[in-house]
């Protein structure tokens, strides 16, 4: 739908059906920030640093190079949508415990890609799997080690629970 150079896109944003208005070619990151989703942050504006990552139909994408119109009909998840019922996800909680951030500007992107990685894999994760899954994310403060610890801890706990269930 277009109106005065602007278009309206319909999407499921953090679980809620939402109509967003914006210019077709503008970066999705800007449109989402205008919605008050300040967890979407731009750093490189080139799609190489991962900071602005959102999940589009469950897949991590760089919102800074994603045109606004591409949100049409998709399920969009930002870091604001990782918690449920006001409770942080296990991954978010583990990021705090493992201190997987310093300035935390890049953290939403890491969290979303890690969430996608955890969703798309089963069982425990190796360092290599985490590195591969989070490859497109830069953290200048240097928290890669604790990010890996956090993601692996969540995966291991989940694995433990799965194994526990299997035994029963």
């Amino acid at each position: 739908m277009t109106e005065g150079g602007k278009i309206t896109v319909s999407c499921v944003l953090n679980g809620a059906k939402t109509d967003l208005c914006g210019e077709a070619a503008q970066p999705a990151s800007e449109a989402l920030r205008r919605e008050g989703l300040f967890g979407v942050r731009e750093t490189c504006s080139l799609g190489v640093c991962g900071t602005c990552t959102v999940l589009l139909d469950g897949e991590p994408v760089s919102a800074c190079i994603l045109p606004f119109y591409a949100l049409e009909g998709s399920e969009v998840r930002t870091v604001e949508g990782l918690e449920s019922g006001g409770r942080l996800s296990a991954l978010q909680q583990q990021f705090i415990e493992s201190q997987a951030f310093q300035c935390s500007f890049c953290t939403p992107g890491f969290l979303l890609s890690a969430a996608a990685l955890l969703d798309s894999t089963e069982g425990a994760l190796t360092d290599e799997q985490v590195e591969e899954g989070l490859q497109g994310h830069l953290c200048r403060c240097g928290c890669y080690e604790t990010v890996k610890e956090a993601v692996r801890a969540v995966a291991a706990r989940r694995h433990g629970q799965d194994a526990g269930r299997g035994a029963r």
Partner: protein, 804 residues
């Protein structure tokens, strides 16, 4: 107060000095890995970065920048930009000629940096105009409508060019020195393109070098690199014309440095300039001193509306850099491996404006001695003006450059002497009670322990330094030890307020930029006051309310601000004891405050909660102040005196594998250790070390700003590489040395960075037998060094044949 600080210049006796930092012990909060304050906001996207700030009537700013490294502005026409619908205001140099206009120049030491350029641009990226518009898009469109005619001028971009006879001058006139500058910064040797010079003289270097058994004479290079904070510079400035007051929200590490710069620029009292600082998305030195606050404030002054400026990434790359440096270093030693003399000329490329170069090149200069006892030392350290973006504070603060040179030189000397590099260092490390080259006595010295740990971490042995790994990869190990000063003298104040319910506000101007400053301050305040850490709230810096602090940099906050907060909280605790004394029928000195409860020592059943004490004594709140004010200073002729209130001590070791076909360096093992004295929060401290390690690795292997005719060619994260998760060492370990009982806190923000670069340099040289003296150690440079070594060996072999 306008940045005027203690200028005693005299060596102080720190013992018993009421203004010194305070030692602390492990307690209920101190020494515990508690979660950071407001942890939830860090993982749910709700941290209030400056980037999110909005106020009614806000306009959006963009800067027009010079495409030339050095040029005369022949003419400028902004009328078409002003006519563009949605443009609110266009700021140019001409606006500063109006009566009552602010000063057009600023700078923390000398006023040499124009808010917008007038007749001349001095680097490619120098702002020539600023636009405020209803949207960022309109502001951007307006930039294209500004017509500027330039006439290019001859430029200097390297230190060699800057020093050449008849070199074009970056600044024609001597810079205007700021009235109330920093006590430790003195200009010397100003002239030509020399911004300033620092020198250190100890003993008779020429005679000592002549008498040395061996002398190693090498030149080392490190490039300009950028901080690449994930959050760019953000400023929201509001100039209130009716009140003649300025309010600025900024992503700065130096709220008071910014306030003072704006006070001077607008000729306003400090009560009329308010600087508020939300959490920063990274600092690393990039956001020290006024940067873009002056232009945003001036634009708001002209526009009469609030102005928000968010630097695009490519412009953030032009905001400030680490100094490129060329270091010629000669070190003389005896055959037994005793260092005798060191002679250094170190040239820092300061770029177009002085910024904080005059302090940085001083620190980088005297640091060239390293943690060693060298009887004869001569150091000449220069900051040179060039037509490049300004260089300034950067995590490591000159020590990265110095240590890159001296720790490589130690290995080169070891090879010449045939002594194991670890052993050579051990024979020369400073020990407690010895004097540094500045003459100050080292009250602490832990380098030997740090070196031993670093060597052990890579299973160091003289014959295991090099080897061959899988698929023919070359393996090598390297170590490095460093010392780093902290800004001295410096001043920090803090205040706390205990409220009647037993909770506490800490009023501090320490900037939270991810290092965890506010969390450790809460921990220190809690233990000092005797209340649970959950009861402590730490304010964000707000120059209207929070007490003065010199800067959040120089690895000083946990010690200096932590000390000030500890003292302030102890004042409150003592007041609580006095109030409780009558209620508990005990002498105040016999009362203990702990966990929010006051009790009689040895009789914990005789107790009252802090809240109850306040209630029963009709006390609404209890306030306390504290400060840490250090003194020191160096003689401008000899460099003798007190360079640093205390010293940071670090060491690193590395193991690398190198593909001999490509020259690519793989870091397999990286270890970093620092002396901490007392760790306030282990998990945060560990991350400071990780950060330093990865910055060091990134500088060693990847980062370099590349200029073509003075124009930066890689101002983006696709062409400028920083370390990523996939580059991580296979094994990364960090370690912190602590003392039992009460111990002084030593900052950890930077200590691990310089030794990592040098250790990697030494590991690469061990692996290949070829030394790369120019950072970063790219595959090309590694291959070049190996080829040069090969050629040398071939030549030597041929010569050997001929001689036979």
């Amino acid at each position: 107060m306008s940045g005027t600080l203690d200028d005693s210049g005299a060596a102080d006796s720190r013992a018993g000095d009421s203004r010194a930092a305070v030692p602390v012990a492990v307690g209920a909060a101190v020494g515990q890995s508690i979660d950071v304050l407001q942890a939830r906001s860090r993982v749910d996207g709700t941290v209030e970065f400056a980037l999110n700030a909005e106020v009614p009537g806000m306009t959006h700013a963009r800067l027009l920048r010079s495409p030339y490294a050095h040029a005369r502005i022949v003419s400028m026409d902004v009328s078409a930009a002003e006519r563009l619908p949605g443009v609110v205001s266009v700021l140019t140099a001409a606006d500063f000629d109006r009566p009552g206009a602010p000063h057009r120049y600023h700078g923390p030491v000398v006023r040499d940096q124009p808010v917008v350029c007038g007749r001349r641009v001095r680097f490619a990226g120098d702002p020539v105009a600023a636009v405020a518009a209803e949207s960022e898009e309109i502001a951007t469109a307006a930039l294209d409508r500004i017509e500027v005619v330039y006439e290019e001028l001859p430029r200097v971009t390297t230190v060699e060019e800057a020093m050449a006879d008849g070199a074009p001058l970056v600044h024609d006139r001597p810079p205007e020195v700021r009235d109330h500058g920093y006590a430790d910064v003195r200009l010397a040797g100003v002239g030509g393109n020399v911004c300033t010079k620092f020198q250190l003289r100890k003993g008779d270097v020429d005679a000592a070098l002549a008498g040395s058994d061996v002398v190693v004479d090498r030149t080392y290079h490190t490039p300009a690199v950028q901080h690449v904070t994930m959050e760019p510079h953000v400023v929201l400035a509001t100039y209130d014309r009716r009140a003649c007051a300025l309010s600025v929200l900024s992503s700065t590490q130096g709220p008071f440095a910014v306030r003072d710069a704006l006070c001077e620029m607008f000729r306003l009292p400090s009560s009329s300039v308010r600087v508020v600082v939300p959490p920063l998305g990274g600092g690393y030195g990039a956001k020290t001193y006024a940067k873009f606050e002056p232009v945003a404030a001036a634009l708001s002054w002209k526009a009469g509306r609030p102005v928000k400026l968010v630097l695009p990434r490519d412009e953030d790359f032009l905001s400030l850099t680490k100094h490129a440096a060329t270091i010629r270093m000669r070190t003389g030693a005896t055959f037994e491996g005793r260092l005798v003399a060191r002679d250094v000329q170190i040239f820092f490329n300061g770029g177009a404006y002085a910024d904080i170069s005059p302090r940085l090149i001083k620190n980088g200069g005297y640091s060239c001695v390293g943690p060693y006892d060298i009887p004869h030392v001569r150091i000449d350290s220069y900051a040179l003006y060039t037509n490049l973006p300004p260089a300034g504070a950067y995590r490591g603060y000159g020590v990265s450059q110095a240590a890159w040179a001296y720790e490589q030189q130690m290995d080169e000397l070891a090879d010449v002497l045939g002594i194991d590099p670890v052993e050579l260092r051990r024979r020369n490390l400073l020990v407690k009670g010895e004097a540094y080259a500045t003459g100050e006595i080292m009250d602490e010295a832990h380098w030997e322990a740090l070196l031993d740990k670093a060597a052990a971490a890579v299973d160091w042995s003289p014959d295991s330094r090099r080897g061959t790994g899988p698929s023919g990869r070359l393996r090598g190990k390297g170590v490095a030890v460093i010392l780093k000063s902290t800004v001295t003298p410096s001043t920090t104040h803090a205040a706390v307020r205990l409220d009647a319910d037993g909770t506490m506000q800490v009023f501090s101007s320490a900037v939270e930029m991810g290092q965890g400053a506010h969390t450790v301050l809460a921990q220190l305040a809690a233990d000092a006051a005797g209340i649970p850490v959950a009861n402590v709230h730490v304010t964000a810096p707000d120059t209207q309310y929070t007490p003065y602090d010199q800067t959040t940099s120089s690895s000083r906050t946990t010690r200096a601000m932590g000390g000030a907060v500890t003292k302030a909280a102890r004042v409150v605790r003592d007041r609580v004891r006095r109030l409780a004394s009558e209620l508990l029928e005990a002498d105040p000195d016999d009362l203990v405050v702990s966990g929010g409860t006051v009790f009689v020592a040895g009789v914990p059943s005789r107790n009252l909660s802090v809240a109850e004490v306040c209630y029963r004594t009709r006390t609404g709140s209890i306030s306390g102040d504290g400060d840490v004010v250090t003194s020191g200073g160096l003689d401008p002729e000899t460099g003798q005196g007190v360079a640093s209130d205390h010293w940071h001590e670090g060491a690193a070791s590395a193991e690398v594998e190198i593909d001999p076909a490509t020259g690519k360096v793989y870091v397999t093992n990286l270890y970093v250790a620092a002396y901490a004295g007392r760790v306030v929060n282990p998990k945060l401290a560990r991350l400071q070390m990780h950060g330093s390690a990865l910055f060091g690795m990134s500088h060693a292997l990847y980062e370099e700003l590349v200029f073509d005719n003075g124009v930066l060619t890689n101002p983006n994260l696709s062409e400028y590489s920083i370390v990523s998760m996939g580059d991580m060492p296979r094994h990364l370990e960090v370690e912190l040395l602590e003392e039992p009982g009460e111990a002084g806190i030593h900052g950890l923000g930077e200590t691990g960075l310089p030794p990592v670069i040098a250790a990697l340099g030494n590991a690469v040289a061990s692996a290949t037998g070829a030394r790369v003296r120019q950072l970063p150690m790219t595959p090309e440079r590694v291959l070049q060094a190996m080829e040069a070594r090969g050629a040398t060996e071939e030549r030597d072999a041929l010569r050997g044949l001929e001689e036979r």
